[in-house]
């Protein structure tokens, strides 16, 4: 990946993309998009299915190269996919230590597994886990290497509503322990409001609107400010008149 670090970095922490273009044949999915994630900031990228938000996340992750523009991300980054993508032939602990080296790898993995509430499940096979547990393992796998940027691609979309709320609490708790910038992609407005420092709404391959969320934990769950934000986001998504 030597061509990835072609130029001098423009900032020291966080992540930024400038004028990024991504095409699939004739179709331009990402069209000269600019996005910055500050250090320790949680940015939610909101948009309907097929708007290119997962494509953008893959560009951030380095899984796909942009067709134009520049991407600058920390080398220490991790991604949580929508599916847990656990190795079915490895027990939970070995799944978490996949990218980890050194004699304390097991110890660190155990610590993070305890943080996501899976202490004692280290020896379980992935087939023995529930959907929520499996996704918590993949969260632990992402966090164990102390990344500076965590990319989350609709990580809770496949979970039921109750488990999803638990996962939101978990993510909020983990943010205070792991000081990483996070970019979370979702089509769920409530999830965006629950977690974000900033919500960027994506439309036609660009960031349409960008809204900073400065609500307390309680105000994120209910209240007038929350409803106003929700209405504004619905309008950003072009859904205002439908409700």
């Amino acid at each position: 990946m030597s061509e990835a670090v072609a130029e001098q970095p423009a900032q020291q922490a966080g992540a930024l993309v400038t004028q990024v273009v991504r095409r699939f044949g004739e179709r331009v999915v990402i069209d000269h998009l600019d996005l910055t994630v500050e250090d320790e900031e949680l940015v939610v990228l909101l948009g309907p299915s097929g708007c290119g938000k997962s494509t953008l996340l893959r560009v951030f992750a380095g899984l796909d190269r942009p067709d134009g523009g520049k991407v600058e991300v920390p080398a220490k980054r991790a991604i949580v996919f929508q599916a847990d993508r656990l190795l079915p032939w490895q027990r939970v602990l070995r799944n978490v230590t996949l990218g980890l080296h050194g004699p304390d790898a097991g110890q660190r993995a155990r610590k993070v597994l305890a943080e996501v509430g899976l202490a004692g499940r280290e020896r379980a096979w992935p087939k023995e886990l529930s959907g929520g547990e499996a996704q918590r393992v993949s969260l632990a796998r992402a966090l164990v290497a102390e990344p500076e940027l965590v990319l989350l691609d609709e990580p809770f979309a496949a979970l039921d509503a109750i488990t999803r709320l638990r996962m939101h609490d978990l993510v909020r708790g983990l943010r205070s322990k792991h000081h990483a910038a996070m970019l979370l992609v979702t089509h769920d407005i409530d999830e965006a409001i629950a977690l974000a420092d900033r919500i960027d709404v994506m439309s036609r391959g660009r960031i349409g609107t960008s809204r900073r969320v400065e609500l307390s934990a309680e105000n994120r769950d209910a209240g007038i400010a929350r409803e106003k934000l929700r209405a504004a986001l619905l309008s950003d998504l072009g859904l205002a008149n439908l409700h």
Binding site: A61, G62, L63, R77, A78, I79, F81, A83, R85, L87, P88, W89, Q90, R94, L98, G99, W125, P126, K127, R141, A142, A145
Partner: protein, 298 residues
């Protein structure tokens, strides 16, 4: 509590029919232990398949024994299993069977080890690297269509009539399915898992040891199963021509003297080798593929 009767036919949405309407089949599930299991059921279950996969072979043996005893099958056509066993014991006591079996097993083991080793090395290289694919795939595709029997005369011309051509025939039989299955298994590992390993900084060694190799294990075991079977086929072929020792030699010699019993002893030994080979792979699968959520037939 008094029972409220709602006349049928009224459009009361709260009315619950007391019994299911005809045509709506219903199923009720309760814990298995809740049902009283009778002693008869217990015994029936224990007796239903006491022999596992040996059920059919044993059934055929019994039928065969009966048909031979009532002289439907003549002793020169198919001697009874008991006669074959007696013949085997006699041959063993004469000191004929033991050494021949030893020679055959040695050929099979050496050839199998050689073929599987080459198959694993080339299959791994072919699966992991495009260079390996380009080097081996074409030639193995050619090998795959060559019948072992057709190769035998050629091997005798090339390698003489000693042990070498026989071991090489067995190795050839073991190599081809191992390569093909291992190659396909490595290439068939879920790309999403490979991608996940890459973004988690797994590195090439971790990628191979924790993702690709374990992921290819089911395919490897399929390859092993075919390798074992094909190496036994190769053994039969190799020993049927130009041998002066081994089970195949024992069979062809018995054919010349019309000793049907001895011919059957040889065939039975080959088939037992096949069964054992299959059971070894099955046992390996049970141990190595514990992680796999697979269909367990009732």
């Amino acid at each position: 509590m008094s029972e409220i009767t709602v006349p049928l036919g009224t459009a009361d949405p709260l009315a619950v029919p007391k019994t299911a309407a005809p045509g709506h089949a219903r199923e009720v599930f309760v814990a298995r232990d809740a049902r009283r299991v009778s002693a008869v059921t217990k015994w029936r279950k224990r007796l239903s398949w006491p022999l596992g996969i040996y059920t059919t072979p044993v059934a055929i043996l019994i039928l065969w024994e009966i048909l031979a005893d009532v002289h439907v099958l003549g002793p020169t056509v198919a001697p009874a299993p008991s006669v074959i066993v007696r013949a085997a014991v006699d041959l063993w006591n004469q000191g004929v069977l033991g050494p021949d079996l030893g020679v055959s097993l040695r050929r099979a083991a050496l050839g199998f080890a050689l073929g599987v080793s080459v198959g694993v090395v080339t299959g791994t290289f072919g699966g992991l690297a495009r260079a390996g694919e380009n080097l081996f795939n074409g030639i193995v595709a050619v090998f795959n269509t060559i019948p072992i029997l057709a190769l035998l005369p050629l091997f005798i011309v090339w390698f003489g009539i000693g042990e070498l051509p026989k071991i090489l025939i067995v190795a050839f039989g073991a190599f081809v399915p191992m390569y093909l299955n291992l190659f396909a298994a490595i290439r068939g590992v879920d790309q999403r898992l490979v991608e996940m390993a890459r973004v988690n900084n797994a590195g090439p060694v971790r990628l191979i040891t924790r993702v690709l190799m374990p992921g290819a294990l089911p395919g490897f075991l399929t390859g092993l199963r075919f390798s074992l079977a094909y190496s036994i086929l190769g053994l039969v072929a190799a020993e049927s021509i130009n041998a002066d020792q081994g089970i195949g030699f024992m069979i062809s010699q018995a054919e010349d003297y019309l000793q049907t019993n001895t011919v059957f002893v040889g065939l039975v030994i080959y088939s037992i080798l096949g069964l054992i080979a299959d059971q070894i792979v099955r046992l390996l699968s049970l141990i190595l593929l514990r992680w796999r959520p697979s269909y367990e037939a009732k």
